[in-house]
């Protein structure tokens, strides 16, 4: 079984090396196919592992070699495929594979084609190490690896200055999180002497609770960075600078869920630590609301999706916060499906619009882009939570858990958020696909459906986002909650009572009704009345604040970036040059100055010399007598 892990890890790495080194000599299709195949291979492996575990096999461990050994620190380069890891593997490789296929079409005209695929493969490799690592350090290695890949891919079109900055921003914000994670790992070393999952978790009880709290918080800081939660979420929307498949794969389906994975992985600790869980809950909740509201006022198709991603991640963290870890992962899965679908859909739209991303210049695309339109619609419905699509079940479950686990307030806020979600998603949908076309003539003339390499993944994902809910049918429909039962062995869920049927029904009905209303309203507003959102600057009142994203970037700029830059200049020009170096130089110059004065003593006048001699003699006589 261990060999499957090895293959799963190795094949993307191989793909990376091939397309990285020889990519420029191979024809594009070959590169693409090699890359996709390599991912497919690891997908197959993960299926194998999945079967193995599903049939009651126990976790597979792969020991390779001792990576770092110094004193008490000894880190093995080993991997562990338990149910959680494999669950993530499935998503990563599965969605990853589809997106590879898609990219073959999407990136076809780009001269960095092979580089793109090399990076993608590298990403898959790192992501797999992240989820498969058998201890926190290996996970950290994957963690940084994916961060790097996202940096590379966001800055893929480096010729554009803005994109470069976006990439840097992403990397640095992640780094801030990473510091927290790293410190957490040090704490673990400090407490348990190792970071190997099995040992650490088995001895989790031994450590005192305060330490555990601290560890959890530190780990969560890492999660916040990676999963774009408040306050470190601003990088994700900017990350949309990258090619759309990247946004789909990294910034929607997989990488950003690493934070969820981390917390879920450490569920043993989090369950036992009140404070940390509360923090997780609050952060998640706030993020969900804030991001959703911002999403209302965005005009860039990808930005809207980005903010919705942030808000959905917030959802997941809420779930984690209340201790429903398997629920969170369930939502991760469904979200991976429909969000990937939506992004790819938007990608195909952008493809058709030849690079245009602003929905104010779109509209009425449903006629030209049939498949895209249909799949996108499905995605929208799914995320809006229309039963029986995937989104409904996962969201509904989170709501339920929140309600029973944490009370009414959280529940209400989440409900509101999901309403908002529906609003901005349909706004997006209608503005894009219905009404009159608002783009330029030659754009209109150029409109076309994307090639099959792009549409097929769309279709598959659409299907998945329809049936994905099956992984976790709520107790209303079936007594077998697959995700829960599968994962419960590795996740220690807080025991939250199952929602009553009444509650289920109420939620179901209410949500259907609400959605219906929302759809009609948005449709009438944007399609019938042909309202077109204005640009951020023309907005007024609260709308302006929203469209300016609550001025987060500006605040950070003034509160953090500017001061540091000022400090840097100050430290260099004043403290260093003037003060420290000044002291050094003065002590140097002092000598020359003294020399200059003492030199005068040597008047060249012999009388003075004689006098000096006599004075010297007398002085010595005095010393001689006194001492």
């Amino acid at each position: 079984m261990g060999s499957y892990i090895a293959i799963a890890l190795f094949s993307p790495l191989l793909g990376f090396t091939i397309s990285g080194l020889f990519g420029r000599f191979l024809p594009k299709n070959v590169t693409g196919i090699i890359a996709s195949l390599s991912v497919f291979v690891s997908f197959v492996c993960s299926i194998m592992l999945f079967n193995h575990l599903h049939n009651g096999g126990d976790a597979v461990k792969l020991e390779t070699f001792n990576w770092i050994a110094a004193g008490n620190i000894s880190i093995d380069f080993s991997f562990l495929a338990d149910k959680l890891s494999v669950w993530m593997m499935m998503i990563i490789t599965g969605v990853g594979f589809l997106i590879h296929i898609y990219s073959m079409g999407y990136m076809h005209h780009d001269e960095g084609f092979y580089k793109f695929f090399a990076y993608l493969n590298l990403f898959i490799f790192s992501m797999l190490t992240l989820v498969l690592g058998a201890n926190y350090v290996i996970m950290f290695f994957g963690w940084e690896g994916v961060g790097l890949c996202s940096y590379l891919l966001i800055g893929f079109w480096y010729a554009n200055k803005e994109y470069g900055y976006a990439a840097r921003k992403a990397f640095i914000m992640n780094r801030i999180g990473d510091l927290g994670l790293l410190l957490g790992i040090f704490m673990l070393f400090n407490v348990f002497g190792t970071t190997d999952y099995q040992t650490v978790f088995s001895s989790a009880g031994t450590a005192n609770s305060a330490t555990i709290e601290l560890i959890c918080i530190l780990l969560f800081v890492g999660a916040v960075g990676k999963s774009a939660q408040i306050p470190l979420f601003t990088w994700l929307p900017d990350a949309m600078a990258g090619p759309t498949p990247v946004s789909a794969l990294i910034h929607a389906a997989t990488m950003v869920t690493a934070g969820i994975y981390l917390v879920a992985r450490s569920s043993v600790f989090f369950v036992s630590s009140e404070l940390a869980s509360t923090i997780v809950l609050v952060v998640g909740l706030v993020t969900a609301v804030v991001a959703a509201t911002i999403g209302l006022k965005q005009n860039d198709i990808k930005k809207v999706l980005a903010y919705s991603t942030v808000s959905q991640l917030g959802y997941m963290f809420v779930a984690l916060g209340v201790g429903a870890y398997s629920t969170a992962l369930f939502h991760v899965t469904t979200h991976a499906f429909f969000k990937a679908l939506l992004f790819l859909g938007s990608g195909s739209v952008i493809h058709a619009m030849s690079g245009e991303q602003d929905i104010r210049f779109m509209g009425g695309l449903s006629k030209k882009l049939k498949i895209t339109h249909f799949t996108f619609l499905l995605g929208t419905l799914a995320i809006a939570g229309v039963p029986p699509l995937a989104g409904f079940f996962s969201k509904d479950e989170i709501l339920a858990k929140a309600f029973y686990g944490n009370g009414i307030l959280v529940f209400i806020l989440l409900a509101v958020t999901s309403v908002i979600t529906a609003v901005y998603m349909f706004r997006l949908y209608f503005l894009t696909f219905h009404g009159e076309f608002r783009g330029t003539e030659e754009q209109k003339h150029h409109l076309h459906e994307s090639p099959s390499t792009m549409t097929i993944p769309l279709i598959i994902l659409a299907i998945l986002s329809c049936v994905g809910g099956g992984l976790g049918l709520s107790s209303l429909f079936s007594h077998h909650h697959f995700a829960d039962t599968f994962l419960s062995s590795v996740l220690t869920n807080a025991n939250i009572p199952h929602p009553s049927h009444l509650f289920e029904i109420v939620v179901l009905v209410v949500s259907v009704v609400l959605l219906a209303i929302i759809i009609l309203m948005t449709r009438s507003y944007y399609t019938k009345k042909q309202n077109v959102p204005t640009s951020a600057d023309e907005e007024t009142g609260f709308g302006r604040i929203l469209s300016k994203k609550y001025y987060f970037d500006e605040i950070y700029k003034t509160l953090i970036q500017k001061p540091i830059e000022w400090l840097s200049n100050f430290a260099h020009d004043f403290i260093d040059r003037k003060f420290i170096d000044g002291i050094v130089n003065i002590s140097g110059r002092g000598v020359t100055v003294c020399g200059n004065y003492l030199r005068r003593v040597q008047t060249g006048n012999v009388e003075f010399y004689l006098l000096a001699m006599v004075v010297g003699v007398i002085a010595f006589l005095i010393i001689y007598q006194l001492v």
Binding site: R599, Q602, T603, G604, V606, E607, L610, V614
Partner: protein
């Protein structure tokens, strides 16, 4: 003979006079004379001690000193002459070219 201390005081005074002379006079020749005064003070001291100890070595030393002093003066005068030839003066305070 009177106690040795008197001689010591005397010669010390002479010596000091010589020193002061060297310090305050500028004329090269006078300077030489002052130096001679110092040396003679020493001579006096030596002889005094010698007679006091009934020891000849001291007196012998005096002769050495005289000889050396003579030689010194010879050289000194020569140098002064040389300088006079170049500067038409024996005022030592004029000689301060060497300095920085």
């Amino acid at each position: 003979m009177p106690p040795i201390d008197h001689y010591i005081w005397l010669s010390s005074i002479l010596f000091s006079i010589g020193v002061i002379g060297v310090l305050i006079r500028r004329n090269g020749i006078v300077l030489l004379m002052c130096v001679e005064l110092m040396l003679n003070a020493v001579n006096l001291l030596f002889t005094a001690f010698a007679t006091n100890f009934q020891d000849s070595a001291g007196q012998v030393f005096v002769f050495f000193i005289m000889v050396v002093a003579a030689a010194e003066v010879a050289v000194g005068l020569a140098i002064l002459v040389m300088i006079y030839r170049n500067t038409k003066s024996v005022d030592i305070s004029l000689l301060d070219k060497l300095k920085q």
